[in-house]
């Protein structure tokens, strides 16, 4: 009994000592985490995700309209209009690319509409055979924006040659049909996803807001994972692979996004800005975002806050990317240094977004469920 009492006394002393130490060594830090995760999810869902899908859907309507006009009587001015509406739609897609959660994940939206480089051989064979199912696995790189990019542009920028495909070419009708099919395919997917998010449709927004935990499968967990996944697409597919990062420095220009239209960097910039806005919770104004959560969590990196580190790095990456002239497919061959600089800055962002941010939030970077101990 005496021993037991001593234990209890020791326990009490330890607790008191611990609390004293605690209260004395934290005079400045926040003593509580004050943050509403569902409010953040609501802001991201209603002010960023849904408006961006709506914008994309609108741009797809315009694209469809322009394509109808063009295919009914192809001419040069209609082609230019079509190319502009395509560019706007592709740019708009970049702002939605990171939202691969819920409805988008169900239909693998990102893979369906933007797998690049596109397979021109497969496209030609689809086009001439006239019988194809764009949703079939073997057509994954013969659909979406990259396929449209190929149909609507020539690398040399000669629109007369593009026009030829839809006019004098013996397969002109096949080209038209394939273009229409591609646009319909993407538009259908986008509209379905948008509709599933909207309160008037599938109302995934409500699920998204309610699922405010941090576990695998929670909204925040998936969002952070997808933000990272998307950011790594920027690093690898958009910049790294064309720059030869995985092939002993031998550039692979044909791997560029929008290889035919030639505005790869412009698209990449749009994407990194979209990632930054998602991080900031910036829809029409700066609402509650991942940055605010990191601030509430008091997360730090070296001698600054983690939020400062992330914002700085994303800005540096965007600035370095801005320095890379389009077409990227030529820059990766002519000016590797400038691309490498951009790549390095983007890569530094990976560490902060993939290691520091999830660790501070206690979110797991994994698609797999699993046990810990």
């Amino acid at each position: 009994m005496i021993i037991k009492r001593n234990f209890l006394n020791a326990m009490q002393s330890c607790l008191v000592a611990g609390l004293l130490v605690f209260s004395s060594c934290n005079p400045e830090g926040n003593n509580t985490v004050n943050f509403d995760r569902s409010a953040m999810l609501e802001n991201i869902g209603s002010n960023i995700i849904i408006p961006n899908y709506t914008d994309l859907s609108d741009k797809m309507n315009l694209l469809q309209q322009a394509a109808t006009d063009f295919t009914s009587a192809p001419d040069n001015s209609k082609l230019t209009t079509l190319q502009t509406t395509f560019r706007n739609a592709y740019l708009s897609w970049q702002k939605c690319s990171a939202f691969e959660v819920g409805p988008a994940m169900q239909v693998s939206l990102r893979m369906s509409v933007n797998t690049f480089p596109t397979d021109t051989v497969q496209i030609q064979s689809n086009l001439t055979s006239g019988s194809y199912n764009l949703e079939a696995a073997n057509n994954i790189d013969a659909r979406g924006f990259p396929a449209m990019d190929y149909l609507l542009h020539k690398r040399n920028g000669n629109n007369a040659e593009v026009l030829e495909r839809f006019t004098t070419n013996p397969d002109a009708q096949d080209w038209k049909d394939y273009l229409t099919a591609l646009i319909n395919d993407t538009k259908t997917l986008v509209d379905a996803v948008k509709n599933n998010w909207e309160t008037t449709g599938g109302n995934y927004l409500a699920t998204f807001i309610t699922n405010d935990g941090i576990d695998v499968g929670s909204s925040l967990g998936e969002l952070v994972n997808q933000l990272n996944y998307d950011y790594e697409i920027l690093k690898n597919a958009r910049i790294g692979i064309p720059a030869g990062k995985q092939t002993l420095g031998i550039a692979l220009p044909e791997k560029c996004e929008a290889y035919y239209a030639g505005y790869s960097v412009e698209l990449a910039l749009e994407q990194i800005n979209a990632i930054k806005n998602l991080y900031l919770g910036f829809g029409t104004s700066n609402g509650s975002g991942l940055d605010d959560y990191l601030i509430a969590l008091d997360a730090r990196h070296d001698n600054q806050t983690l939020d400062e580190a992330i914002q700085t790095q994303l800005s540096l990456a965007a600035a370095a990317l801005q320095n890379v002239p389009d077409p990227l497919s030529e820059t990766v061959v002519n000016n590797q240094t400038i691309v490498n600089t951009a790549y390095t800055e983007i890569q530094k962002g990976v560490v902060l977004l993939k290691t520091d941010m999830p660790s501070a939030m206690s979110v797991l970077i994994t698609y797999q469920d699993g046990d810990g101990d």
Binding site: T32, N236, K245, A299, N303, L352, T355, S359, G370, G372
Partner: protein
Amino acid sequence: METGIKTFTAEARRRGEKEMINFASLRLCGENYLNSTTHIAPLAVFRVIFGGMMFASVIRFWLKGWIETQYINPKLFFPFYGFEWIKPLGETGMYLVFAAMAIAALFLMLGLFYRISAPVFFILFTYVELIDKSNYLNHYYFISIVSLLLCFVPANRYFSLDVLRKPSLLVTQIPSWMVDIFKLQLAIVYFFAGIAKLNYDWLFRAMPLVIWLPAKSNLPLVGELLNYKLTAYVFSWFGAIYDILIPFFLFNKRTQNIAYFFVIVFHAATAIILPVIGMFPYIMILATTIFFSSEFHKNLIRKISFGKKYLFNHRDDITFSFSRPFAGKLLLGLLCLHFTVQVLLPFRYLLYPGNLFWTEEGYRFSWRVMLMEKGGTVFFYVKDLATGKESEVVNSMYLTRQQEKMLSTQPDMMLQYAHFLAAEYGNKGYVNPAVRAESYVTLNGSGSKPFINSSMDLTKEKESFTSKNWILPFEEKELSYAER
């Protein structure tokens, strides 16, 4: 003569008779202990519980699809040092292994063909754990040890199908140590888990709970509390004190009821609050019942026998004896060795320089459970010596997410991966591929920092028990800044 004896005794007293007597009494005490017997019921119940939990765990593992994701899908595996010869058996093979493991666990529970089912379970389970260290969990290690210990005790000779099948097997009294080794093993798990918590970060920064708890603030009722730093401190201190003291309170008959109440509260709390902790809390809650008296277990058996008297109504004087006395002595010797290793292994980290949590040299097999928040990112580069140019590796081409996550904070896995990459890229035509890694790790909110020497060609390094000099030191200074 009388005087002579007296003189001798007096002299002995002067020279420290105390010690002599104590030594003798200690020896006597030890012999008494080794010869003491106890009822077999606690061991039989433990066997049923353990077998049942293992059966459930294997089925759960199967249903979650983890056989496929962890043992079939990966392109490469990370065996433990010295066990590189352990290889997975492919799809059919692995499913057969798990099926056999499930059956062995079920047989263990039922006490059927125990002399075969216990070793089979131990071997299959341990085999699977040795395939890939990225799946290492302390509680898997615990299961391996317990199932090994079970192989050497007659847990099937009461309340089992073996006894029904062959009544001559029945035993009711066994040496006390046959039950106590399981208590000791559990005590070691708790105690060392507690000792491991006695570090600056855990006690005075409430790391990692101060990171993990607010993440669960969406829980009903307690959620709001988890946002307070004070809560993390209370939990940290309670956890450390609990782990260190609970074995003693469980051993003490007078306190074990209240101690068991705390076992339930503690593990239920960890199940709710900690990230992805799986079956561990339930295994511990149920396994700890072995501390209860044999009367408790006899009653329990009576209750779960539903009046089937042939299951429990036996004479209480059938004592177990080894067929050869030597076997008992050998077994005791091996057990001494086992527990000595158990006590020493958690301290092997002292032989390595640097921060244990950072380097993880001597980290595994030491009951360091849920002790740190660590995350990392690592980029690997393979250089072709013919051109002097290098390529970045896309880790996801070779690693599962789980493997990449584990590898990104564990240097020994990076080394294994580097050697794999050298071979892989060699096959692709790279000449004398050199592999280097650029790696950043954050530990307990330190913020990401360079982890290993990124200019080191890892293909030149070999795994061994010596310290890895290519791990960069952890800068404590930065950490104290992060404390603000």
